[in-house]
């Protein structure tokens, strides 16, 4: 009797998850895929017939320029997050265990504030009348405000700031698991701190670095609101391109073209999937090793 009830509860939960997953993830994605094969319609956005023309937009050189820019920005963001995040994660992992949670909380707490709000906050730091310029003016270091807002740097900074936790957490998770005795063994065998870092810590935390990089790189391609808020009217990320095809009114530069937007979106999703597959293929072997270990 009891068991039947348990099973009932379990199937309810499973069904709920299944329905949620279907409605919220599978369905929308299928709609996007479907849209990418349809034809543009001025009033209804989409109409038959099915065709492959939308994917031709991918061969547009302008789009490629934008993609290259976006990838460049995402790479820089990933690199900056790695350079800041790795030492951070390393230092936390080296602290006594009971203090880890405090520092992880310090990373997580700003994370709970909507990132949109945090990026608007950055506007008031970077703008011509913002904090930085006022300080510099007051200190007499500059005569006229420097333009920071609406530059590539501002977008880059916002991205790095928004995505940093995604780099720190996976690296921390891997570093924290590295057996201390491996470090001692390396020291014992004549390795100095630098050797230990280069030959033991980095290779053993590589899966975390890759995970962190993917977690930063992929969103950095599409976080259009950061680009919108801090970059002004410049189109800097692939996400903005897609957004402009779907919601052209904001900038008015293009007419709405859902099928092309969908085609770009599908292509982006597919390339992300390829990247993630490569990562999980390589990541799994590392994890298996560590588990067996």
């Amino acid at each position: 009797m009891h068991k039947a009830k348990d099973n009932f509860c379990r199937s309810i939960i499973l069904y709920f998850i299944f329905i949620w997953f279907s409605l919220m993830i599978v369905m929308p994605n299928m709609l996007v895929v479907l849209a990418s094969f349809l034809t543009k319609d001025e009033t209804w956005y989409l109409r038959l017939p099915l065709n492959l023309d939308n994917y031709r937009a991918l061969f547009d050189t302008n789009l490629w320029m934008l993609i290259a820019k976006s990838i460049g920005l995402a790479l820089c963001t990933g690199l900056a997050c790695l350079l800041i995040g790795y030492p951070f994660a390393y230092l936390i992992a080296k602290l006594p265990k009971e203090r880890h949670s405090i520092f992880l909380m310090l990373i997580m707490i700003p994370f709970w504030t909507n990132s949109l709000v945090r990026n608007y906050a950055l506007v008031s730091v970077f703008s011509d009348t913002g904090l930085i310029n006022q300080w510099l003016l007051n200190l007499g270091l500059i005569k006229t405000p420097i333009h920071i807002l609406h530059t590539n740097f501002a977008v880059f900074f916002g991205m790095t700031y928004t995505l940093l936790p995604f780099m720190i957490l996976p690296i921390y998770a891997v570093l924290e698991k590295i057996d201390r005795s491996l470090v001692e063994a390396a020291r014992d065998l004549g390795a100095n701190s630098f050797d230990v870092f280069k030959k033991i810590i980095i290779p053993l935390s590589f899966s975390g670095i890759v995970a962190g990089f993917i977690m930063v790189f992929l969103p950095a391609l599409t976080l259009f609101y950061v680009s919108d808020i801090l970059g002004g009217s410049k189109v800097l990320v692939l996400g903005s391109v897609i957004r402009n095809y779907f919601l052209p009114d904001q900038l008015g530069a293009l007419n709405a073209n859902w099928p092309v937007g969908a085609a770009i979106s599908v292509s982006l999703t597919l390339s992300m999937l390829v990247l993630l597959t490569i990562y999980f293929k390589s990541g799994n072997t590392v994890e298996e090793e560590q588990q067996l270990w």
Binding site: D179, S181, L182, E184, A185, A186, R187, D188, L189, G190, A191, N192, D195, K199, I200, P203, L204, E289, Q290, L292, W293
Partner: protein
């Protein structure tokens, strides 16, 4: 070995605190070149800490460590001529067997040829030469242990530190490895400092055993000394099984004295380590295998021997362990070898026995 003038390694009044917890208490120890020294003690006695102090992974709160007369108390681990075999093997999981063993030599910037030669010859010494390309996770525990031993001695350290390296292996493999380690140590001529809580392991491998308890040395000596002449009750109880009898000295002569042991008058040899005086309390220690058991028909009140009843027995193949409840109520353990020609050897629970021991094999300690 003690006659050697200069010890290879000297620990001088070493004290180590972890917080307010004293782990090593004013300890002096010398390690001599080429010996197999074992640090033996129960968990928490400070033996691993002592090893880590020698390895350089901990710094003493007080005291000095000298290697060949040079003060190395604060020298970093990678600058000490010692290498450690870790309890959990600690092989680098991202390197294969060859790379693991080569790690220390690469750190010394040796030439590729030299490294290859040294690695191959040390893998051969631990019979792992066919596994050079394997990853650590593809090896069994015993094989990992061999690699970790090779990885340590390939650097030709002055002292090889081994932190309970065999504790994770099963019984049979452990016995094999004990013999192999001992052989390896003779072959290499490197000083081994070996940590274990297993007294059998300590006795069968070591030149000298250091029995540690609560951060202090209870006794240093050869395995035979430790087993046959324990200096105190801790050593006696920790190393092997032992029967402890209370006694009171009744009278003394030049070489012998008589004492009332478990209510029986016994003539015992005078110990050399302390004076026995009439009326003083003593402990008489006897190993189970030194007990002599004789079956009797029934208990005899008039008997001049200790008597008892077998309360239970454990058959162990080669030997049989008897627990005998003495008339006074105390329990005595006796180990008897099987003797197929002697039918008397068939004991059963409830049998009455005379209990004595081989003359002069007892150890007498003062009753603290």
């Amino acid at each position: 070995m003690e006659t050697q003038a200069h010890p290879l390694l000297e620990l001088k009044s070493i004290t180590k605190f972890f917080g307010s917890n004293k782990v090593i208490d004013d300890l002096d120890l010398s390690v001599y070149d080429g010996e197999f020294l074992t640090l033996l003690g129960p968990s928490g006695c400070g033996k691993t800490t002592l090893l880590r102090l020698i390895g350089g992974f901990e710094r003493p709160t007080g005291g000095r460590i000298y290697m060949d007369g040079t003060d190395i108390t604060y020298t970093a681990p990678h600058r000490r001529p010692v290498n450690t075999v870790f309890q959990q093997y600690s092989l680098f999981p991202h390197m294969n067997v060859f790379e693991n063993v080569a790690f220390g030599l690469k750190m010394k910037n040796l030439s590729k040829d030299k490294i290859e030669e040294a690695v191959n010859s040390s893998l051969k010494k631990v019979k792992m030469e066919h596994f050079a390309d394997r990853m650590p996770m593809e090896l069994s525990c015993g094989q990992q242990q061999r690699v970790s031993i090779a990885r340590a001695f390939v650097n030709n350290p002055k002292i090889l530190l081994l932190d309970e390296p065999l504790s994770a292996l099963d019984y049979k493999l452990r016995c094999e490895m004990q013999l192999e380690l001992k052989e390896l140590q003779r072959d290499l001529g490197i000083t081994f400092v070996f940590v274990t809580h297993d007294q059998e392991e300590a006795l069968c491998m070591s030149d000298r055993v250091v029995v540690l308890n609560e951060g202090m040395i209870e006794q240093i000596g050869s395995p035979i000394q430790i087993y046959e002449e324990p200096k105190n009750l801790f050593v006696a109880n920790f190393v092997g099984e032992i029967n402890v009898f209370d006694g009171i000295v009744a009278s003394t002569t030049e070489k012998y004295f008589t004492a009332l042991v478990a209510g029986m008058s016994c003539k015992l040899k005078k110990p050399t380590t302390f004076d026995v005086e009439k009326g003083s309390k003593i402990k008489v220690l006897l190993r189970p295998e030194d007990m002599v058991i004789e079956k009797i028909k029934k208990l005899d009140e008039e008997s001049s021997k200790l008597q008892g009843v077998i309360s239970h027995l454990v058959y162990k193949g080669r030997t049989i362990d008897l627990w005998i409840r003495m008339s006074g109520g105390i329990m005595v353990m006796a180990t008897q070898f099987f003797n197929e020609d002697d039918p008397d050897i068939i004991y059963s629970v409830g049998d009455f026995v005379d209990v004595s021991w081989i003359d002069d094999w007892e150890v007498v300690l003062p009753d603290a």
